[in-house]
C-alpha cells in the first residue's frame, strides 16, 4: 500500500447498479426453462399437531397438476437437512424435507404440489385436506425449560437442544473484590430478516447426463453444492449451483432449505425443470429468523469504572429445528462478549432451547449484535451507577493501541485497533461538546433528550479454517484472455455488496489495466469452482486476497515470458503500470496485449513454459479481523406519545484499508437501517399458541426511507495484519455498532425520570408506559 493506486481507495460507482436500477437484472424468478413446472408448498397452520391424514385425491385430479407429494412420498427418498455446526451435547430431531406424522411450527411444510403454473398449483393446494389433531404448544423459550412444559419434540425428552459454555479468568475473585456489581436482564427480540426478494429456486435435472443444475436465491452456492449431494443423491461433480442476482440475504440465505432439496428431488423424479418462488408470507414464517436470546448479565467493576468481569446465563431460542448454523450463533455472542475492553474474567453459559417456532440462525451480525448490545448497555449502566461520564468509563477499559495484537478474555486475538482514535474522531465530527450543551438546554426546556454511544468491535473475515466447520479460506481465479481483457472469478459470491466493482478495482490496479477491461464473475459453481461464499463480512478481505495471489502468479509467469521475448533474464525484468521491461529500458516495454497473444498463440515460448495466462488461488487467513468504531446518537423522545426521533447520527468506522469508500458507506448505512428497525420497531410476535402474528408487511415494519436520519459518517484506518491488503470488512458493522448506540441514547433521554433500562424494541407504547409509571413514582 505504499504507492498510490489508480483505483484502490477511490469512491467508484458500483458497476452492478445500472442493471439493478433499470430492472434488467436476472433474479431466480426471471429464469424460464422449456417445460418448466411450478411448485407450491402447503404449510401447517398449527404450531404443533399430529397429522392424522392427508387427502390429496382432489388436488391430484385437477387439470394441470403433475403431482402432489407428502412426507410419505418423499422423506424416504430425500435425505435429512443437515446442520453444519453441531454441538457436542446436542440433541436434534430428524429434519425431513416434509413433515411426517407431526408438524412442529406454523409454516412447517406438509405437502408440495407441482403444476403447469402457479395459479393451478395454488388451486390444487386449496384442495388438499389435512386432518390435524392439535397438540400442546410451547412458544416461550423460558417456559420451555420449565419441568412441566410441553415438549417441542417429545421423542427428545427435553426442550434443551444443546448447552455451551465459555469461561476464562478468575471470575469468583473478580466478583469478590469488586466495589460494585450490577445485574441486568436483557431480551434480544426475535427478528425476521425479510429480504426484499424472497427465496426461490429452479431445479433442472438432465436425464441425459445425470447433472443437476439448481438456480437458487442463496448467499452460499458453494456450501449448497457441498451439502445437497448428500440429500438428493447426485454426486458433487454432477451438481451445478447458480446464485443469480440475489435481492438481499442478510444471513437469511446463508442456509440450505428444504425447498431446494425438494425441487431438486422432484425435478429428478418428474424429469422436468421445477420452479418454486416463496411468497412474502412464507418468507416471514419459513425462512430463518434472527436473534431471540434472553440473558441475565452480571458485571463486576471498581469505583473508578474499571470493569473486572462479566458473566451471563443465556437462553437461545433455536425454534423447532437446527438449521445450518443455528447453534453457532450464540457462540459468536460469547466470543465477543467482552467487547473492546481489557478485563480478563468472563463466563457465558448458553442453553439452546427448542420451541414450536421457525428456526433462528444467522441474521446480519449473527450473534455479535447481541454481544455488543450487552457490553455497550453495561458500560452505560456502570456510568449511571457511578455517576460517571460514559465516555470516561469506556476510555478507562480500552486496551491501548500499543497493546495489539490483543488477547481477549474469550480467547481471541484482536488483530489491530485504535479504539481511542475512533472515539475521539466521532466526538470531533459529531460535535460532542455542542451536543452535550444541546442536551442540557433541551432538558431545561422540559424535553426528553438523550445522547448515546457505542464503541464496538466485531469479528469479521471468517475465518481461519481451524475455527470453521468446512473451510474458512477463499478461492479466486484471474485469467488474462487472449485479447488482454481480464476475467476474474471469485468464490466469495458477493450478492449485492459490490465486489464486482471492488474486485475489479483491486485486480485492475495490480495488473495495471483499465478497470473497464476487468469482468468479475460470481455465483456459479460451473465457473467459480471453489468458494466459501459471502457471510461474516469476509468477501473483500479473503476473496480479494485470493485474487491478489492469482495476480502475483500471473505476473511472475508473465515476467518469464517477457524476459524471453526481451532476450533478458526474469530477474532483470521490471513490472510497472502494466508494462514489462528490462531494468533501465522502460521505452522498450511489453504490455499485456502482446504477452497474452504470445502466451496463447504459443509459438514463441520459453522452454517448459505452459501456454496461457491464468492462475487460481486459495487464501487461508491466519486470523480473523476485528473492525471497530464509535457511533454517537442523539434522540428526542416525545413525552406524550413515546415516539423516538433520531436528531443526530454519527458513525465513525474503522474497517482497515478501504478499497472503495462509497461501498463502505453504503454497507454501513444499510446496517444502521437494520439497527434502527431492531431498536425502534421490529419484532416477530408469536402468540402462546405458536401463531406468527407478524407474518406480513402489514404487521412487520422495516425501516423506510423516511425513517432514516441524515448520517454523519467518517472513518479511521487501522490496517489489519490478518491479510496483505489490511482490510477488515464492514458488512455488519452498522448493525453491530448502531443498535446499542440508539438504545443508549433513548435510555439516556429517559434517565432523568429514573428509567434505567428498557428492552428492545423501544416501541412508543413501551416508552409511554415507562414514562407514566415513572411519573407515578
Amino acid at each position: 500500500m505504499t504507492t498510490p493506486k489508480r483505483y484502490f481507495g477511490k469512491p467508484i460507482k458500483r458497476v452492478e447498479d445500472p442493471r439493478l436500477i433499470k430492472g434488467i437484472a436476472t433474479y431466480v424468478d426471471d429464469i424460464k426453462l422449456a417445460g418448466m413446472l411450478h411448485a407450491t408448498v402447503l404449510r401447517s397452520p398449527y404450531a404443533h399437531a399430529k397429522v392424522l391424514g392427508i387427502k390429496t385425491d382432489a388436488a391430484k385430479a385437477l387439470a394441470g397438476v403433475a403431482g402432489v407429494f407428502t412426507g410419505a412420498d418423499v422423506n424416504a427418498k430425500c435425505g435429512l437437512l443437515p446442520c453444519a455446526s453441531p454441538m457436542p451435547d446436542q440433541k436434534a430431531p430428524k429434519h425431513t424435507v416434509l413433515a411426517g406424522d407431526r408438524v412442529y411450527y406454523a409454516g412447517h411444510p406438509v405437502a408440495i404440489v407441482v403444476a403447469t403454473n402457479r395459479y393451478i398449483a395454488q388451486d390444487a393446494l386449496d384442495l388438499i385436506e389435512v386432518d390435524y389433531d392439535a397438540l400442546p404448544v410451547v412458544s416461550n423459550p423460558e417456559k420451555a425449560i420449565e419441568a412441566d412444559s410441553p415438549l417441542t419434540h417429545p421423542e427428545l425428552g427435553s426442550n434443551v437442544s444443546f448447552t455451551w459454555s465459555l469461561a476464562n479468568g478468575n471470575l469468583e475473585e473478580a466478583f469478590q473484590k469488586a466495589d460494585r456489581v450490577i445485574k441486568q436482564r436483557m431480551v434480544h427480540q426475535r427478528l425476521i430478516p425479510m429480504a426484499i426478494e424472497p427465496r426461490g429456486c429452479v431445479a433442472q435435472f438432465s436425464q441425459a447426463d445425470g447433472t443437476l443444475t439448481l438456480w437458487t436465491s442463496t448467499q452460499i452456492p458453494h456450501l449448497v453444492r457441498t451439502l445437497l449431494p448428500g440429500m438428493v443423491g447426485v454426486p458433487e461433480n454432477k451438481m451445478r449451483i447458480v446464485a443469480p442476482e440475489v435481492g438481499g440475504g442478510f444471513g437469511s440465505k446463508l442456509n440450505l432449505y428444504v425447498e431446494e432439496a425438494l425441487c431438486s428431488h422432484l425435478s429428478m423424479r418428474l424429469g422436468v425443470p421445477i420452479k418454486w418462488i416463496e411468497s412474502r408470507r412464507e418468507n416471514a414464517m419459513a425462512t430463518i429468523h434472527g436473534r431471540d436470546q434472553i440473558g441475565d448479565y452480571e458485571v463486576a467493576f471498581q469505583k473508578d469504572g474499571t470493569v473486572l468481569a462479566i458473566k451471563s446465563r443465556t437462553i437461545a431460542d433455536v425454534g423447532a429445528y437446527l438449521q445450518l448454523l443455528t447453534p453457532a450463533i450464540p457462540t459468536l455472542t460469547g466470543l465477543m462478549l467482552t467487547g473492546c475492553y481489557k478485563f480478563k474474567a468472563m463466563r457465558m453459559d448458553v442453553t439452546g432451547v427448542y420451541t414450536h417456532k421457525m428456526s433462528t440462525d444467522a441474521y446480519r451480525g449473527a450473534g455479535r449484535p447481541e454481544a455488543t448490545f450487552v457490553i455497550e448497555r453495561v458500560m452505560d449502566l456502570i456510568a449511571a451507577d457511578l455517576g460517571m461520564d460514559p465516555v470516561k468509563v469506556r476510555l478507562r477499559n480500552f486496551p491501548k493501541r500499543s497493546e495489539f495484537p490483543f488477547d481477549t478474555a474469550t480467547g481471541l486475538t484482536y488483530d489491530s485497533g485504535n479504539y481511542q482514535g475512533a472515539l475521539r474522531k466521532a466526538q470531533q465530527v459529531g460535535g460532542w461538546d455542542a451536543l452535550v450543551k444541546q442536551r442540557e438546554q433541551a432538558r431545561q426546556a422540559g424535553k426528553l433528550f438523550g445522547i448515546g454511544l457505542s464503541t464496538y468491535v466485531e469479528i469479521c473475515a471468517l475465518g481461519p479454517s481451524k475455527i470453521m466447520a468446512a473451510g474458512g479460506w477463499e478461492w479466486g481465479c484471474v485469467r488474462i484472455e487472449m485479447s488482454a481483457k481480464v476475467t476474474v472469478i471469485t468464490g466469495a459470491t458477493p450478492h449485492g455488496q459490490g465486489q464486482e466493482t471492488s474486485f475489479a478495482q483491486i485486480v485492475a490496479d495490480e495488473l495495471g489495466v483499465p478497470m473497464e477491461d476487468v469482468v468479475v464473475l460470481r455465483g456459479d459453481t460451473a465457473s467459480a469452482h471453489y468458494g466459501r461464499d459471502t457471510y461474516g463480512s469476509r468477501a473483500t478481505a479473503l476473496g480479494g486476497t485470493a485474487l491478489i495471489m492469482c495476480v502475483q502468479k500471473i505476473v511472475a509467469k508473465a515476467t518469464k515470458l517477457a524476459a524471453h521475448l526481451l532476450k533478458s533474464k526474469p530477474a532483470n525484468i521490471v513490472f510497472r503500470d502494466g508494462k514489462f521491461f528490462v531494468k533501465g529500458k522502460p521505452k522498450n516495454s511489453l504490455g499485456w496485449r502482446v504477452l497474452a497473444q504470445e502466451a496463447y498463440v504459443a509459438k514463441n515460448l520459453p522452454r517448459d513454459f505452459e501456454p496461457g495466462l491464468e492462475a487460481s488461488s486459495f487464501f487461508e487467513p491466519k486470523n480473523c479481523t476485528f473492525p471497530f468504531g464509535t457511533h454517537i446518537v442523539a434522540v428526542e423522545v416525545d413525552r406524550d406519545t413515546g415516539e423516538v426521533e433520531v436528531v443526530k447520527y454519527v458513525a465513525v468506522d474503522d474497517c482497515g484499508h478501504q478499497v472503495n469508500p462509497l461501498l463502505i458507506e453504503g454497507q454501513v448505512q444499510g446496517g444502521i437501517a437494520h439497527s434502527l428497525g431492531q431498536v425502534l420497531f421490529e419484532r416477530a410476535v408469536y402468540d402462546e399458541n405458536g401463531q406468527l402474528l407478524t407474518g406480513e408487511f402489514m404487521d412487520y415494519p422495516l425501516a423506510r426511507a423516511k425513517d432514516i436520519p441524515r448520517y454523519i459518517m467518517d472513518s479511521t484506518i487501522t490496517p489489519s495484519p490478518s491479510n496483505p491488503m489490511g482490510i477488515k470488512g464492514c458488512g455488519e458493522a452498522g448493525t453491530i455498532g448502531a443498535t446499542p448506540a440508539i438504545a443508549n441514547a433513548v435510555c439516556d433521554a429517559l434517565s432523568p425520570l429514573g428509567i434505567k433500562h428498557l428492552d428492545l424494541p423501544l416501541l412508543p407504547e413501551k416508552i409511554w408506559r415507562a414514562i407514566s409509571e415513572a411519573k407515578v413514582k
Binding site: T641, L693, T694, F697, M698, D699, E765, W768
Partner: protein, 283 residues
C-alpha cells in the same frame, strides 16, 4: 400470493356498474383502487367470483364546485385530492389527510370512495369526512339517496350502504384554513392507530372532530365538541375538550397498541389537532 380465478368486468358508466353489481350480487366485489381488496385476494382470504372495476367510469373521477359545496367523485384518487388546487383553497383538510395515507404507490391508485366504502376502522378518510359533516351520495337499482357522514359508518368494515348500492359522490362544505389532521400511524401498515381530524367553524363557534383508528369504526368526538361549543380556543379549553376525545369508547386492542394507548393517543392527537387548527385560524 396468487388469487383464485375471477371474472373481470369493466363497466363504462355508473349505471352499468349498478346493473352489473345487482346482477352478480354477493359473488361480486367492487374494485375501486384495490389497495385493501387485492392483498386480501392474493392471500385468498377473499375469493370473489366477479370483480367489477370502476376505474374506467369517467364521470366518477372529479373534484368540482357544485351548489356551494365541493363534490368529490368516489373514484378520485388520494393523489388527485392531495394535489387539488380547489380543495387546497376550499376544503384544505382533505389535502392534509391525503399525503398521510400509505405511500406514493397507494395514493396513486387508492380512491376516497373505495376507502370510505371499505370502512376500515383505521383508514384516514373517515375521520375527515366526519369532522367535515360531509354528505355521501349513494345509488343502487332503486335510485340515489344521501347519507350523512355520521350515519355512514355502522360498525367494523360495515357502512350504511345497502348490499346493492355504490358510493357515487362525497359532498363537502367549504371551510376556512382552520383545520388539521394529526395521526399516529402504525409503523408497518401506515394505518392510523389514532388519527384526529379537526374542523373549526369560526362562524358558528363550533368545532367538528373525527377520530379514526381507535374504535371499531371512526366516530365523532361529540363530548369534546360540546365542551368547546361557544368557547374561545384557549389552550386550557382545548386541553379539557381533548381529554374527552375517547370517553366511553370501546377501543381496539392489537399487537400494535393496547386499548389504553389508543385512547390516550386519541386525546393527545385531538389536542394537537385542535391547537394546530386554532393556530391556523389566527393566521
Amino acid at each position: 400470493m396468487i388469487p383464485s380465478a375471477f371474472e373481470y368486468l369493466r363497466p363504462q358508466t355508473f349505471d352499468d356498474a349498478i346493473n352489473l353489481f345487482a346482477q352478480h350480487g354477493e359473488n361480486a366485489k367492487i374494485l375501486a383502487g384495490g389497495h385493501s381488496l387485492i392483498p386480501t385476494m392474493k392471500l385468498r382470504l377473499a375469493q370473489p367470483k366477479v370483480l367489477i372495476d370502476l376505474g374506467r367510469i369517467a364521470d366518477l373521477n372529479y373534484i368540482r364546485e357544485q351548489d356551494g359545496k365541493i363534490a368529490v367523485g368516489a373514484m378520485a384518487t388520494h393523489h388527485q385530492i392531495e394535489t387539488s388546487e380547489l380543495l387546497r383553497e376550499k376544503c384544505p383538510l382533505l389535502c392534509e389527510v391525503a399525503p398521510q395515507i400509505g405511500d406514493v404507490q397507494v395514493r396513486n391508485r387508492g380512491t376516497i370512495g373505495g376507502s370510505l366504502a371499505h370502512a376500515d376502522p383505521a383508514a384516514d378518510w373517515p375521520a375527515a369526512i366526519l369532522a367535515l359533516d360531509a354528505e355521501l351520495e349513494v345509488a343502487g337499482p332503486d335510485g340515489a339517496r344521501v347519507i350523512q357522514a355520521k350515519k355512514f359508518f355502522v360498525d367494523l368494515f360495515q357502512t350504511a350502504l345497502k348490499p346493492n348500492e355504490l358510493l357515487r359522490e362525497i359532498r363537502l362544505p367549504a371551510t376556512s384554513k382552520a383545520v388539521a389532521y394529526v395521526k399516529f400511524a402504525q409503523r408497518a401498515s401506515g394505518f392510523a392507530i389514532a388519527g384526529a381530524a379537526v374542523v373549526i367553524r369560526p362562524e358558528s363557534k363550533a368545532v367538528g372532530i373525527g377520530i379514526t383508528g381507535v374504535a371499531a369504526k371512526a366516530y365523532r368526538a361529540t363530548a369534546s365538541e360540546k365542551k368547546l361549543e361557544g368557547q374561545p380556543l384557549a389552550s386550557e379549553n382545548i386541553a379539557a375538550a381533548a381529554d374527552k376525545a375517547s370517553n366511553r369508547v370501546e377501543a381496539l386492542n392489537d399487537i400494535h397498541a393496547s386499548a389504553d394507548f389508543r385512547k390516550h393517543l386519541a386525546r393527545v392527537n385531538t389536542k394537537r389537532a385542535l391547537e394546530l387548527a386554532a393556530a391556523r385560524a389566527e393566521r
